[in-house]
Symmetry: C2
Subunit: 453 residues, 2 copies
């Protein structure tokens, strides 16, 4: 994401805060922190090393504690919870909307969960328990059960009087839902319609049944797609009998979309978005070691390929000098195709028919670029080493590896998805293994053929 | 992004559509296409090779033409516009909201722009012209000037009667804005408040001035951050005199966040998100060639480093076999640190003070992992080549390169940002150049020292 003035301000706040912390003046720190929104406080806490984090966390207005906990990654949340008394945690949990509470609950100690449940009224407790029957990352967990419903047979005027009696509406309410006697979802009516309609009109004349309800077990990724495709601001959530359970609002969808983007960016490097930037060194070392270990295996594979050509390496040292170039160009070209394919897959833009068209296109592009760069690198090799056969092997290997890169870039994501592996996460490692091995094998193999007569 | 049922459905629709197209039955194609939302149609058109794309585009309901054009990437849009008569384009443009029209206008032929402007009433034309005075990717371009304003001194009842007279509200209206006589922004009042308040109360008693207005020249990336930090559904946009110009709604923000994520994912591979998946081969070849050329230069640099150690390569062929392992492990470890840093920067989580803490942590992690893997790879090398000095050089180079990777991973994004380069786009290439060169130099250098006595 591009640099913005806001990021600069956030970084500047961070600097001021760290200076104030270092000088021990907690008054200014407290004032600064409590001008921020809970999301911003969460962001700030994530940027602080553990000891400073705890100091600042102690200065946050207890009213905001719950919201801040909702806005930090899992690991930092654990860290913050450790510093709180059970009473403080219960108070923080009580201040939350029920959907945020459902999100937080799993991270709380069991005794605290009991306390929180006891402190709720029966209706809310039942709603919460119902939400928890749905799996994490489904609409049933994401929704807020706090909705305003009306019946179809009343007039707008009755609804208006009801709303005035009721007082405040749940946050981000943009429409009321119309339900049957058995609370089955029939459609919605927007606040804008209520405000502009003739009060004498019956609600069922205004009912908008265009917006289909979302099943409670729909994955959140699909919920996000549907919001984006239809420009929804909110959507009703129903159970398998079409009974209205709650609603999802777009601010939650924004959080999902941001989390997805982070998951993809970090996952491709073998990282987890819930990891604390300042996790203890031994924990971070262990985690990173897993990824390095996987990559070490693939590197040894490439190295084994090279080991099969010791003959030519011994005789022509230039082969050792030039071989990384062939491998690296294949990796770069293949990554480009892979990235395009992964994006197209995420948008549902790949079918067997167009995969074939894409393959044809990408192979042609690889061939064209292969020839261009073969000529370029071949000439350079010729100029340096004055060996036409070496230059030929170098150029030809470049063409071969770029075509192999295009083929893997198109096929790999298709195959990985078929076997249930996310190509956005694992694709890069596998692809570069292929292009490394193919690059080394083609160049050293051709060199053996052409130079070892 | 994870695979979802919706993506599968989208891909399935695509397959059905391609089958119908191949069999020449356009009736089913037309029916299928016109059950989709404009965003979905756009997505579908982007997935089709050019000749099929034009057939399907001809079958889209002309009413949706404008919205579909707004929802496709720049290149596909150009492609679609080429197939339309000026009259069709004018009709499509006329159907758009003014903010979407501002977005589309630049891609239209000049004669068509004149037609479109002529067809608008004076008020809308002036609004559009005002929007176009702001730069692309600023709030002034993103906003919709169509807002409902009220004065502070009237009662709720007056507002309610005004709204009934006015009829329909602009799409996604969640609050009315209160302005002074000179149209200066004073605050907002939500539809929910209007519905629940006592009609006799004056609007200025309910005014919510908590939401600060956004300056029209604020970059859209910052607008998105502010929406996400505050869970806004809409926000007022003002000029430098605090005069209300329009409002931004969260559905536009969702589009920005998605575009940012795409820009980052594709940009890191040297790709452009506005590129047509099926762009002609020569055009694609040229574009990819640029990125390959940059990478070729960095590959030659690494190759030049190797070339300085021909002596040891000639004598110890194992060096050629093992050297890519050192380079590759450095690249992987460095990419992890770089990815974390880029994310932290994007969230404004990096300050000079915590950069130092991060650096300390990352160097310690690199040292720990370096020692672990040095032992592992050293033992393997010893087992294969039975040469303790070689194993020592291999292990030591691994430690050195992982530490170099950690240092570059932390410093590179700081330096790049200071000089105005986006680390998310250029960081990876530079980092792997550093780790390749350092990996080759340290391993081959140590081998020369230890093995060439």
């Amino acid at each position: 994401m591009a640099e913005t003035a806001l990021q600069d301000r956030t970084a500047k706040q961070l600097r001021l805060l760290e200076q104030a912390l270092d000088s021990g003046r907690l008054g200014p720190v407290k004032r600064l922190v409590n001008t921020l929104s809970p999301a911003e406080i969460g962001n700030l806490l994530e940027s602080l090393p553990p000891h400073k984090r705890q100091i600042v966390w102690g200065l946050v207005d207890p009213e905001d504690d719950g919201e801040v906990l909702v806005h930090v990654g899992d690991e930092v949340r654990e860290d913050l919870l450790k510093a709180m008394d059970p009473d403080e945690i219960v108070a923080a949990a009580e201040s939350l909307d029920i959907d945020d509470l459902a999100d937080l609950l799993e991270d709380l100690p069991d005794t605290v969960i009991d306390e929180v449940l006891k402190s709720m009224d029966r209706e809310n407790r039942e709603r919460l328990e119902q939400m928890l029957t749905y799996e994490e990352d489904t609409a049933g967990r994401l929704m807020n059960p706090d909705v305003v419903t009306v019946r179809a047979d009343v007039s707008v005027d009755v609804v208006l009087r009801y709303l005035r009696l009721r007082g405040e509406l749940p946050e981000a309410t943009d429409r009321l839902y119309i339900v049957s006697r058995r609370r089955q979802y029939l459609g919605g009516i927007s606040l804008a319609q209520l405000l502009t309609a003739d009060p004498a009109v019956a609600v069922n004349r205004l009912i908008d049944s265009e917006q289909p309800a979302i099943d409670a077990d729909t994955p959140v990724a699909e919920v996000a797609e549907r919001f984006a495709n239809h420009d929804w601001l909110s959507a009703p959530v129903v159970d398998e009998n079409n009974v209205l359970l709650g609603r999802i609002t777009i601010d939650d969808v924004v959080d999902i979309i941001r989390a997805q983007a982070e998951h993809q960016a970090l996952g491709a490097a073998g990282l987890d978005e819930d990891e604390d930037l300042f996790a203890p060194v031994p924990r971070t070392t262990r985690r990173r070691a897993v990824w390095l270990g996987i990559n070490l295996l693939t590197a040894f594979l490439a190295s084994w390929v090279i080991g099969n050509f010791e003959g030519v390496l011994q005789k022509v040292v230039a082969c050792a000098v030039l071989m990384p170039i062939v491998a690296s160009m294949g990796g770069v070209a293949g990554t480009q195709v892979l990235t395009l394919m992964v994006r197209a897959q995420a948008l549902g833009q790949v079918s067997p028919a167009n995969a074939l068209s894409l393959l044809r296109k990408e192979v042609l592009v690889a061939l064209a670029n292969g020839l261009v760069w073969a000529l370029a690198v071949g000439s350079v090799a010729l100029a340096i080493y004055r060996d036409a056969w070496l230059a030929l092997a170098f150029g030809a290997a470049m063409v071969i590896n770029l075509i192999a890169a295009a083929l893997s870039g198109v096929f790999l994501p298709l195959v990985l998805r078929r076997v249930g592996i996310d190509p956005a996460l694992a694709g890069g490692v596998i692809l570069t293994t292929v292009t490394d091995c193919c690059g080394f094998a083609s160049f050293l193999g051709l060199s053996t053929l052409l130079l070892m007569q």
